[in-house]
């Protein structure tokens, strides 16, 4: 049941990673939402780094497999540089200049290997729209030096043909699922299997990182909470024994009472007048 649902959403779910320029157009943020939440994910094996934002050291000795943030960043352009720990920004191993952070978005910046094994930085926009009650969002991002892969849940492919640096996502029933990653179209397991606990009302983002050739394939996970919705209602009774308020007969009785009082009063008055 869960799997079939899974597959259905997966069909429409493969979404390309978005360049920063595209992000702004997509989120179309209102004027007041000037800051964005920005997380940084480290997916380059064996390479701890210092992270500089606009020339200022923001993360010290940031280790592979770690997730930093979220930071609240004002909308604007940022220069990002990664250096080996302790080394000056001038000898950065990776730099991205004028990365445009739009307002009002939730972004993850992944430092990772491209398909050929070269370090790069890819920004992803996180889907933080609410999930329905009882559901959880699963997002899988291919950020490893590896060919196309399928993601399987309980042995059945749910996201197929995912390539670096793209993502696939779907809203699924909350709960536990056994997942693994195989080379696309094969049963050759590249990563896993692992038990994924998809908590209701959260987005679990799983990054495939490392290098197939270097035998360093692994996963990094990031969780975004607070996406839950309330149930549609609480139906809790169909007997009617506890009903409050009054029925139609009450209005009839009240109406009759008023008429009788008026009628009686008028009659009494006319009777007295008549005797005079």
């Amino acid at each position: 049941m869960q799997l079939s649902y899974f597959r259905r959403v997966a069909a429409g779910g493969a979404v390309a990673a978005l360049a920063f320029a595209g992000v702004g157009a997509l989120t179309a943020s209102p004027a007041y939402a000037a800051t964005s939440k920005v997380s940084v994910v480290h997916g380059i094996p064996d390479t701890p780094v210092d992270v500089y934002v606009n020339g200022k050291k923001t993360l010290d000795n940031f280790k592979p497999g770690d997730v930093a943030g979220p930071l609240n960043l004002e909308e604007g352009d940022y220069d990002i540089a990664l250096t080996k720990p302790g080394e000056p920004i001038g000898s950065a191993i990776l730099t991205v200049d004028n990365a445009a952070v739009p307002g009002g978005a939730n972004i993850s910046i992944a430092a990772h290997l491209d398909a050929a094994g070269k370090p790069k930085i890819t920004p992803f926009v996180n889907d933080v729209s609410k999930v329905d009650a009882g559901k959880a969002r699963l997002i899988v991002r291919h950020t490893a030096a590896a060919p196309a892969v399928d993601v399987r849940a309980g042995g059945t492919p749910v996201f197929e043909g995912l390539t670096n640096p793209n993502e696939a996502k779907g809203d699924v029933d909350a709960g536990e699922v056994k997942a693994d990653v195989v080379l696309a179209g094969t049963d050759t397991v590249a990563i896993g299997p692992a038990d994924l606990n998809l908590k209701e009302g959260t987005a679990t983002i799983v990054y495939a990182i490392g290098s197939a050739e270097g035998k360093t394939l692994d996963v990094v996970a990031q969780t975004i909470t607070g996406l839950h919705s309330a149930p549609g209602g609480v139906p809790s009774g169909d007997g009617g024994q506890a009903g409050t308020g009054v029925d139609t007969w009450w209005y009839v009785l009240t109406g009759a009472g008023v008429l009788l009082l008026l009628g009686g009063g008028v009659r009494m008055a006319t009777a007295r007048t008549g005797r005079k």
Binding site: H42, P231, A242
Partner: protein, 217 residues
């Protein structure tokens, strides 16, 4: 006294009797009414966030572990004679509504929300007021609870936790702020929900929800 006069008097007496009866019925069928609404809504407002930390939080990107939640298994409300088994329930796939246990003497805890261990948010337990087939439900007298009444929820860990009622509210189902009662932030609180208000005999539906909010003692 003339015949005419006697007739008038009789009419007056009948009128008074009818109105008295109507007034009595109206009083007996008063809706539950609302107490402590303001207190309940204050509990729901999230705690002010601390000034932004100077350093960036860094966490190991491990796969999320299974949640350590303590479900309530038993609820005791001496004031209205409730001793009920609590089942962990979720969402009805078809209706997207709270899956209240079909057996009216059992009540349901919303397993996606906080458990009894939670330091924030609303633990929600709902139960039937009644059922056409099974008669009165566990929460038949929920609307009689008042501020200051106490109740005890026992968790799966065997620990009994005491709560004090701070509010009882009645909302039309079309207007009830469910987001607030199913919130996972704000002060820790226990929210009890059932049906109430006028009953639509054709649709077999109550118009309102009765919501009781209690805080840990």
């Amino acid at each position: 006294m003339t015949v005419r006069n006697r007739g008038a008097l009789a009419a007056l007496a009948a009128g008074v009797a009818a109105l008295t009866a109507a007034a009595l019925v109206a009083c007996a069928n008063q809706p539950a009414g609302t107490v402590g609404a303001e207190e309940a809504s204050t509990l729901a407002s999230p705690a002010p966030t601390a000034a932004s930390a100077p350093s960036v939080p860094v966490t190991a990107g491990e796969l999320p572990a299974g949640p350590k939640i303590i479900p309530p298994v038993r609820l005791l409300i001496p004031e209205i004679g409730v001793t009920a088994t609590v089942n962990a329930v979720g969402i009805n796939e078809r209706t997207n509504e709270f899956e209240v246990p079909p057996s009216v003497d059992q009540i349901g805890w919303y397993r996606y929300g906080p458990g009894l261990e939670a330091e924030a948010g609303s633990v929600v337990i709902a139960g039937h007021v009644d059922s056409a087939k099974q008669g009165k439900g566990a929460f038949f007298r929920l609307r009689e609870l008042d501020q200051g009444d106490t109740l005890t929820a026992t968790g799966s860990d065997g620990e009994a936790r005491r709560y004090r009622v701070v509010a009882r509210e009645e909302y039309a189902k079309t207007r009830i702020p469910l987001d607030r009662y199913f919130a996972r932030d704000g002060k820790p609180r226990l929210t009890l929900i059932t049906c109430g208000g006028p009953f639509d005999a054709k649709a077999r539906k109550y118009r309102d929800n009765i919501v009781v909010t209690a805080v840990p003692v």
